[in-house]
């Protein structure tokens, strides 16, 4: 990065450290924090959407639909999330390619799955082999995002389902008495009211999501954990900056990053909760009303 870093072996002390910390590899390490943030920014709304659909399905009058919704909600309770992470990424990839295979190569006669291999025709490869590496990386990352969204969507469905049930029945009955259709009751009364009940759960879910991001490492994405391991490991002089085992320091840095991140989130979410409680028929809202009066 800096001109004087051209020959690292001649450097000493602070200069060496400065050059070391700005090497190409370290820049990739810093970018990978961006990867984590992008994952969070994309996953959170998608998971919320999935959760909303799940909660709606669980409340449906249609028995089959309701069962599907409830099963979706229960799956994260019974099975560790890490198993989903390990399973879905491969399963989604193979599933998509199988569908593409049947669409694009209907004449292919060889079996897709043999004892050794999972093989689809070249046209069905997602992304195609000829795509540059960054497309493959984006695809891999997208699979990870979808997996996160499915798992955390199930958590969100639990929260939203609980929140929908927590809206006082009297309010819905009043709306019905005014002649609103079930759909109108859902849209105009239930959904706007439920957020305040859902917020504590959703705040906690956000914190859980932050704390789940290191699992990206297990999905083969070169995230911050990967780089901390790679950079921290001791290096011989095959590398420009040989050093001993520094993994402890890299992981301490990650710990500090996560602590700061969760702390800031807690503060912001606390303010948001206070803001949303204003004028609500809950204990917090009542306390605020009294304090103001």
């Amino acid at each position: 990065m800096f001109a004087h870093c051209a020959d690292p072996s001649a450097l000493g002390g602070l200069n060496w450290l400065l050059c070391y910390l700005t090497s190409g590899k370290h820049l990739l390490f810093y970018y990978s924090f961006g990867t984590v943030l992008v994952l969070l920014a994309v996953t959170a709304p998608v998971a919320l959407g999935m959760g909303f659909l799940g909660a709606m399905a669980a409340r449906a009058h249609n028995r089959a639909l309701s069962l599907v919704g409830k099963a979706y909600m229960l799956m994260v309770r019974g099975i560790p999330d890490i198993i989903f992470f390990m399973f879905f990424v491969i399963a989604l990839d193979q599933g998509l390619e199988t569908v593409a295979h049947h669409l694009r190569c209907p004449d292919w006669t060889e079996p897709i799955r043999t004892a050794l291999e999972f093989k689809v025709c070249p046209e069905a490869k997602i992304p195609p082999n000829s795509a540059p590496q960054y497309v493959h990386q984006i695809y891999g990352f997208a699979l990870a995002v979808v997996t996160f969204a499915i798992v955390f969507g199930a958590f969100a469905a639990n929260v939203l389902y609980g929140a929908m049930n927590a809206v006082p029945r009297a309010q819905l009955e009043t709306a019905e008495a005014y002649g609103l259709s079930p759909r109108q009751v859902f849209r105009r009364i239930l959904v706007p009211q439920m957020w305040v009940y859902a917020l504590p759960g959703l705040s906690n879910l956000w914190l859980i999501l932050i704390k789940a991001t290191p699992l990206l490492f297990l999905l083969g994405v070169n995230d911050i954990v990967y780089w901390a391991q790679e950079l921290g490991g001791s290096k011989t002089d095959s590398y420009a900056y040989p050093h001993g085992d520094w993994r402890l320091w890299y992981f301490l840095f990650l710990l500090a990053f996560y602590l700061a991140f969760t702390r800031v989130s807690e503060v912001v979410l606390g303010r948001l909760t206070a803001r949303l409680s204003r004028g609500q028929a809950t204990m917090a809202g009542e306390a605020m009303r009294k304090a103001g009066a």
């Binding site: 309770r77 099975i79 799955r113 906690n204 704390k211 297990l218 402890l248 990650l254 996560y258 602590l259």
Partner: protein
């Protein structure tokens, strides 16, 4: 090999009994079920011991956090914040790095040599991390429960002249436990789920003895087919979760037995308190 032979060869493989070499070729469904089930021993070991030991530390921490004295309160707050505010996965990595730095010969403490080398082994090191982690999460639950003990209960105790430790043991503590129990049930379930992370963090597998997920990943790698081993682990964990829920429910019934039935706390998923 018939399924019975497989069962006797691999049922306790995860703790080092039976066949030494793992199955390599022509892997049968029976082998997958047996070996993954064998790995579950480790999940139960970690979960049960961490939960048991963590329960006591959690009580102490909850009391410390509720204390007036800042010398008690501040350390407890920081401990809870550190373990609840960072990912367990990172805690495993970091703990392993710290454990390997401890002097190998042991530490001299008042003339007694405390051995530290066992901490780098997964059976002990990971257990310590899980114990501290669950203690922090449970402490926050108990702290919350302690703060919601009805004022009337304490006033009644005062009126009867029950004070000091007796008041805590007979009034505060049972009520705290009763109020916190549904959330604590969830914590227990998610702690058992978290045990699957052990062999995917820094802790090495010794003689290929690992937990259920370790063997599932082994089979997925060997057979190139994730659709069999992972659902098997999932199945085992659903059974484990049902068992746990049943056990905690019986404790819950006992804690609530003095209350009229409409006031009893029911255990249900409380998503705002999951980890």
């Amino acid at each position: 090999m018939t399924c019975m032979e497989t069962l006797s060869a691999y049922a306790f493989r995860s703790i080092g009994l039976g066949e030494r070499m793992l199955p390599k070729a022509n892997i049968t469904l029976c082998e997958q079920f047996t070996l993954i089930g064998s790995g579950l021993i480790w999940n139960i070991y970690y979960g049960a011991l961490a939960l048991f030991a963590g329960f006591f530390l959690a009580n102490a921490l909850a009391l410390a956090k509720a204390a007036q004295n800042p010398w008690l309160r501040k350390p407890a707050e920081w401990f809870i914040f550190t373990f609840r505010g960072s990912p367990l996965f990172i805690q495993f990595f970091l703990a392993y790095q710290v454990f390997v730095l401890l002097p190998k010969g042991g530490v001299e403490l008042g003339g007694i040599t405390v051995h530290t080398d066992w901490l780098t082994k997964a059976w002990a090191g990971a257990l310590v991390v899980l114990f501290l982690n669950t203690a922090a999460y449970s402490a926050e639950i108990f702290y919350g429960a302690l703060r919601s003990v009805p004022k009337g209960d304490i006033e009644a105790a005062d009126a009867y002249g029950i004070t000091g430790f007796a008041r805590f043991r007979r009034i505060l503590w049972p009520t705290m436990l009763r109020l916190g129990w549904p959330a604590y049930t969830n914590e227990a379930i998610f702690l058992f789920h978290a045990t699957t992370l052990v062999f995917f963090s820094s802790f090495p597998a010794f003689r290929q003895q690992g937990d259920a997920l370790y063997y599932a990943a082994y089979f997925a790698d060997k057979t190139y087919n994730p659709f069999i081993p992972y659902p098997i682990v999932g199945f085992y964990f659903i059974c484990l979760t049902l068992l746990l829920t049943w056990a905690f429910n019986s404790v819950n019934r006992r804690l609530n037995r003095h209350l009229p039935s409409n006031q009893r706390a029911r255990i249900r998923l409380r998503p705002q308190l999951i980890r």
